[in-house]
């Protein structure tokens, strides 16, 4: 039967591309306000209150990074919820496209929303306080957001939303909250969240190693999540995760070496108070 080509009344919207579909799919009308609300709360209540020092580039970026405390768990929850819908839809359908791509093409607005909120808060902070951008702090932020979202997708696609949403949201929030509180032999974990908190103030200089370590961990989490979404064996993803921790540890090794060689708290490892002398630490007020 010859089939007439019919142009639907929504042709104009369709012409906008997959963007419109993805934005609709993730319930952006709900996602964005919630991300803004939680992200702004942490930026305002914690970031601005505890870190901002006019004139120090890191302080504005750091203050904005605190929004991740609130925005990332929200994004993770949304991602888990929507991932389940995609998984149910895809189940039992043959597809030429890869599994990971099938999720990403509909879920990309979730991390983009969080990143946009972060950037807006960063600009607001910069304008308000005259700070610049600290690119070293920006690096892990950009990696941490998709890492949490993708891991939430991996978990959420196989679990009903009523379970997965609170689990991933609480886990994500706990990671941001627990890690900075670690001490003892686990002290280096506090630097891996991507938000240099727990030991930092707006007047500090972030450690290069810690930020690269956090970025490395996030990137390898992304790789692990993509491997799992592609249907690779679990062991592959576990290997990637272990490698992530290894890279993080390796990133901090130079710091250890620095300490061993110089017995000095070098700027390579620790967060330093930019307004105080670097040594001795009790005089500088620096911490690990």
């Amino acid at each position: 039967m010859a089939s007439p080509m019919v142009v639907s009344t929504g042709g104009r919207v369709a012409a906008l591309g997959v963007g419109a579909s993805a934005v609709r799919f993730v319930s952006a009308g709900l996602l964005v306000p919630v991300v803004v609300m939680f992200g702004t709360f942490y930026w305002w209540a914690v970031g601005l209150e505890s870190t901002l020092e006019t004139g120090l580039p890191s302080s504005a970026t750091l203050a904005a990074a605190f929004s991740l405390y609130g925005s990332v768990p929200v994004m993770a929850g949304f991602a888990a919820w929507k991932a389940r819908q995609i998984e149910v839809y895809l189940g039992g359908k043959p597809a030429t496209r890869g599994r990971a791509a099938s999720f990403v093409v509909l879920l990309w607005p979730v991390p983009v929303a969080g990143l946009a909120v972060f950037l807006v808060l960063l600009v607001v902070t910069m304008v308000r306080n005259g700070n610049g951008v600290d690119w070293l702090l920006l690096l892990p932020v950009v990696a941490v957001i998709p890492a949490h979202v993708l891991l939430a997708v991996v978990f959420g696609r196989g679990v009903p939303a009523v379970v997965s949403v609170p689990v991933v949201a609480i886990t994500s929030w706990s990671w941001f909250s627990w890690a900075p509180a670690t001490g003892g032999w686990l002290w280096w974990v506090r630097h891996l969240t991507g938000v240099p908190t727990g030991c930092c103030a707006g007047s500090t200089v972030p450690s290069v190693a810690s930020q690269l370590g956090a970025t490395g961990v996030a990137v390898l989490w992304i790789i692990a999540a993509l491997l799992l979404l592609r249907g690779q064996r679990t062991v592959t993803a576990l290997t990637a995760t272990v490698a992530a921790l290894g890279v993080a540890a390796a990133g901090l090794v130079p710091g250890f070496a620095w300490i061993a060689l110089t017995h000095t708290w070098g700027a390579w490892l620790v967060v330093q108070d930019a307004t105080a002398p670097m040594w001795p630490p009790w005089a500088a007020g620096s911490s690990t």
Binding site: M5, G11, A14, V18, S27, Y89
Partner: protein, 282 residues
């Protein structure tokens, strides 16, 4: 559009079991379907119909045997004039073009990409509109975003859902959702379509509507699994009866007139072919 009458989706000596401790669902199963052919697949519950669909779609790997797509046809018409060559399934239609083996799944490879499957249950995809869901299905089947969006109106027109294009798929009735499922397989560039219980749960009006749509699909190979013989027997060319994992009957129907005679023939064939003819759940 050029039809490739010798494009064949074939299952050869396939056995499949879900675990070593369980009996095989399919045993030494050999079967084929050509482009342009419409086959009715009958069998009792548990006969292996859905498993066969999963194997054909590449969603499961046969324990032994092969599932593959073979094309030995020559291009005709415009394609031949252009001298196009094979090497894959073009996005412009199901014709795999000239050549020999287009896709050979080998052991367990299935014929993924050459087969579009309409499952028993059609799921609405979140808040997506009908046209967006169908376009996503087209993209999943390997088309570019642009091409999938371009073909969506045509697919929706074929299933009489143009007026619902801008409605959320989650708000559709069961019958409308089934037609969305059909549009999702029609938009795929696959030369073979598998419809698993397409008439289940539909009222008589919707069944009749879907039957007409199925009858209009003449440019693909079509395999329809259903327990409702009367709904589809008039629009198929062949019937295959599956029982206990084996092909018990595989006969053409084209020589029979449509209507009651064909229905009676198929029902009788089914009753004679299954192990327990008293079973009434087919």
């Amino acid at each position: 559009m050029t039809v490739a009458p010798r494009s064949v989706l074939a299952v050869e000596d396939v056995s499949y079991r879900y675990s070593l401790r369980r009996a095989p669902v399919l045993q030494d199963f050999t079967w084929h379907c050509s482009v342009g052919e419409r086959v009715l697949l009958l069998g009792r519950n548990g006969a292996g119909k859905s498993t066969l669909f999963r194997l054909l779609a590449g969603l499961a790997r046969p324990t032994t045997g092969t599932v593959h797509l073979t094309s030995t046809t020559r291009a005709t018409g415009a394609d031949a004039a252009r001298g196009t060559s094979g090497g894959g399934l073009p996005e412009t239609g199901p014709d795999p073009g000239p050549g020999s083996v287009v896709r050979s799944g080998g052991r367990g490879g299935g014929a993924r990409g050459a087969v579009a499957l309409m499952p028993q249950t059609i799921q609405p995809l979140g808040r997506l509109l009908v046209r967006e869901q169908v376009a996503y299905a087209g993209w999943l089947a390997g088309q570019s975003h642009g091409l999938a969006r371009q073909r969506t109106p045509d697919a929706l027109a074929r299933v009489d859902l143009t007026e619902k294009a801008d409605q959320r798929s989650s708000t559709l009735s069961g019958g409308q959702l089934r037609r969305v499922g059909l549009a999702e397989v029609l938009i795929a560039p696959a030369p073979f379509l598998l419809l698993d219980e397409p008439f289940a749960g539909l009222d008589p009006v919707q069944q009749d509507r879907l039957k007409r749509i199925v009858a209009s699909i003449t440019d693909r190979g079509l395999l329809v699994s259903t327990h409702q013989i009367d709904d589809v027997v008039d629009v198929v060319d062949r019937v295959t009866v599956l029982d206990q994992g084996r092909v018990r009957a595989d006969e053409p129907l084209s020589h029979l007139p449509t209507g009651g005679e064909r229905q009676a023939y198929v029902k009788d064939l089914f009753a004679r072919s299954i192990t327990d003819p008293r079973a009434d759940d087919a």
